[in-house]
Symmetry: C2
Amino acid sequence: MSKPLRIALAGLGTVGGGVVRLIETNAALIERRAGRAIEIVAISARDRSKDRGVDLSPYRWEDDMTAFATDPGIDVVVELVGGSDGPALTLARRALAQGKALVTANKAMIAHHGIELATAAEAAGVALKFEAAVAGGVPVIKGLREGAAANAILRVYGILNGTCNYILSTMEDTGADFAAVLAEAQAKGYAEADPSFDIDGVDAAHKLAILASVAFGTTIDFAPVEITGIRRVLAADIAQADALGYYIRLIGMAETEQAADGTTRLFQRVHPHLVPRDHPLAHVDGATNAVVAEGNFSGRLLFQGAGAGDGPTASAVVADLIDIARGDAKGPGAAPFSIPVAALETLAPADSGPRMGRAYLRFTVADRPGVLAEITAAMRDAGVSIESLIQKGRAGAGGTDTVLVAMVTHEGPESAIAKALRLLHGSPSLTEPPLVMHILSD
Amino acid sequence: MSKPLRIALAGLGTVGGGVVRLIETNAALIERRAGRAIEIVAISARDRSKDRGVDLSPYRWEDDMTAFATDPGIDVVVELVGGSDGPALTLARRALAQGKALVTANKAMIAHHGIELATAAEAAGVALKFEAAVAGGVPVIKGLREGAAANAILRVYGILNGTCNYILSTMEDTGADFAAVLAEAQAKGYAEADPSFDIDGVDAAHKLAILASVAFGTTIDFAPVEITGIRRVLAADIAQADALGYYIRLIGMAETEQAADGTTRLFQRVHPHLVPRDHPLAHVDGATNAVVAEGNFSGRLLFQGAGAGDGPTASAVVADLIDIARGDAKGPGAAPFSIPVAALETLAPADSGPRMGRAYLRFTVADRPGVLAEITAAMRDAGVSIESLIQKGRAGAGGTDTVLVAMVTHEGPESAIAKALRLLHGSPSLTEPPLVMHILSD
């Protein structure tokens, strides 16, 4: 047996505790598979006195986690502090600069600073690994970097946020409204006290930007990701989608496109979609995550599993550590984004306007004559072709005099829908802004 | 750029042609991802004159493929000849003995000789890779070897044969009988002229034995795999299962168990199962493959995609080549079965008798009084508890006077069902042997 891989853990929250438990529970098996032991030599977190439900006394405590970067007794720093900047980023920069390998579950940091950190890792000849940053325990970074490496990826998309999927699938099962299900999810610990990162789609967008980079060989470009969360999805939308043969899921999607000017551009969007009932993503329920990658030879590949939680996330963190222990993260295969940073392409963001597709539009309108004529005239004038339309029930939770008008469009450019919404903008007939959800195409 | 990885292709059937097309089509992308080009330097197949729909004139032809083993200009031999023994095995042995890396899509050869070949590969310090042998283009060997490496795997199971799944899901969609769907599948090229390897479950069993080894760190043990194919599944069984909330799928399943004597044993079975409609495998249609691995930290992971075909299989073959080109298949990570052969465990086969579960039983019986009493008495005497029972329609395709009796049991040991069938064995009431299908548990 070779000597152990010596790791230091920074951050002892849910995931940190899971990593400690996993390494303790599966120690013998990890040693068999990795060819050497993985040994926790030091730990650090903000508050030493906090009870974390796991005995940390066997491990050396370090008050200042940045000391890990210069400790010659440490091979790999495992960053589980979280946050795109601040202490996590300081630690990551210092560790890589000192030639330590870095394993992280920090999607925000990788989405914002992944290219800088990969550059540092490549310069130092050490590994930077982040399997746990996307889709929890599901080995989708490895699946794209290595499993699908022979393919040009045409499109990558999936269910990337377990909290949103839990809320949407619970709304579906119970008929309850968003606010009620969110409150219940918070009570059960499935949603944070401040849930905005999850339900507004930012967390999914971080993961999508990382996936896009690995799939397409492009630099990470978080800023242009179009993001819409699920706050405005009503129980009535879910019922309406169901009646039409669809489930509503928050989908992150990225693909490369040829723009009108001949350049290749990158499209990235997080948006609630109507998913046809015969699509594999339609049956992904609860806090599960799932990613589809479409390769030009492999066809459609699906990776699915628990998207969060201490056990699954720890499974991904330790898989990265085993890769490093095995020596797989050296040589030409070591580039964190599969292709060395210097060779990654930088693509301009694609415009959604020319994208062809079908969409679901829901208007909350005042219950009075002429409203339907006004909406349908706007559709006609913008060139939006309506496949089906339903006017139904009362939307107002407070018993206000409002009505829902939901429609599904025929295939057409997104710019036409945007135009129709511009025509209706400011109309006193609409009691709130319209909700647009795209229909996932095959 | 480093120098190219030089490969030789043995076998130019569907998959071999796909590998040539993929390497030509995606050459630039492969070079970016692998850090070096992958270059086909020689090819070989039985018949040089055959038109394969791909221009092979750029490649050196070798009449004797075993010459690849000793050619100093070749780094990797890609074996796509097929067959568990014969020329494929001879080539594999010679190539590894001469220190060439070997990539193969040959499930039969790996299931029967994988341990011998891995021993040779480890001795020579070269890679032996077989991602394409299981589930076509789906990177499930990598998913288990590396992605789930931190976990003790509790159970691995899945839909491993695309032909069977195509037949079962088409029977489901159309209500047609097995023979008619098989004939149609053969006409379309989805089933072989001699389909027995597929429909009798042997192909799935080969893949299962390989998966079990990678998942559990055990030596491959093909012989004890319990195998039942799908020939005897009737349209009436599918309709009955559907009415009960299940789809029928051919499932390969492996798990380790504690036997009564305290030893750990390996259970491996390929068998048509009733899959609950809310299970992800229930929605796997057509020629798709899907594998579920249950890890003690990751929870349930699902890998899904095209299980066969030239493109998907070539995608897996070339992913293995990219791993080798990147240098990932060296060092402690190189063991073909994740753990070096010398450290693999050899487990005795588990007995299915004590396994607890629910089952679907279908009897084809003569249409006369007393038959139902005879069957239910046998169930009672064997201790099988019946949850639901239905007697329905006529089974005989030839209009014979037979009736189907289908039942679902409560949870109980499989030995009780076996005892009931022994009690009924030879009964003149049964016009054919009973069909037992297990119900997939969560």
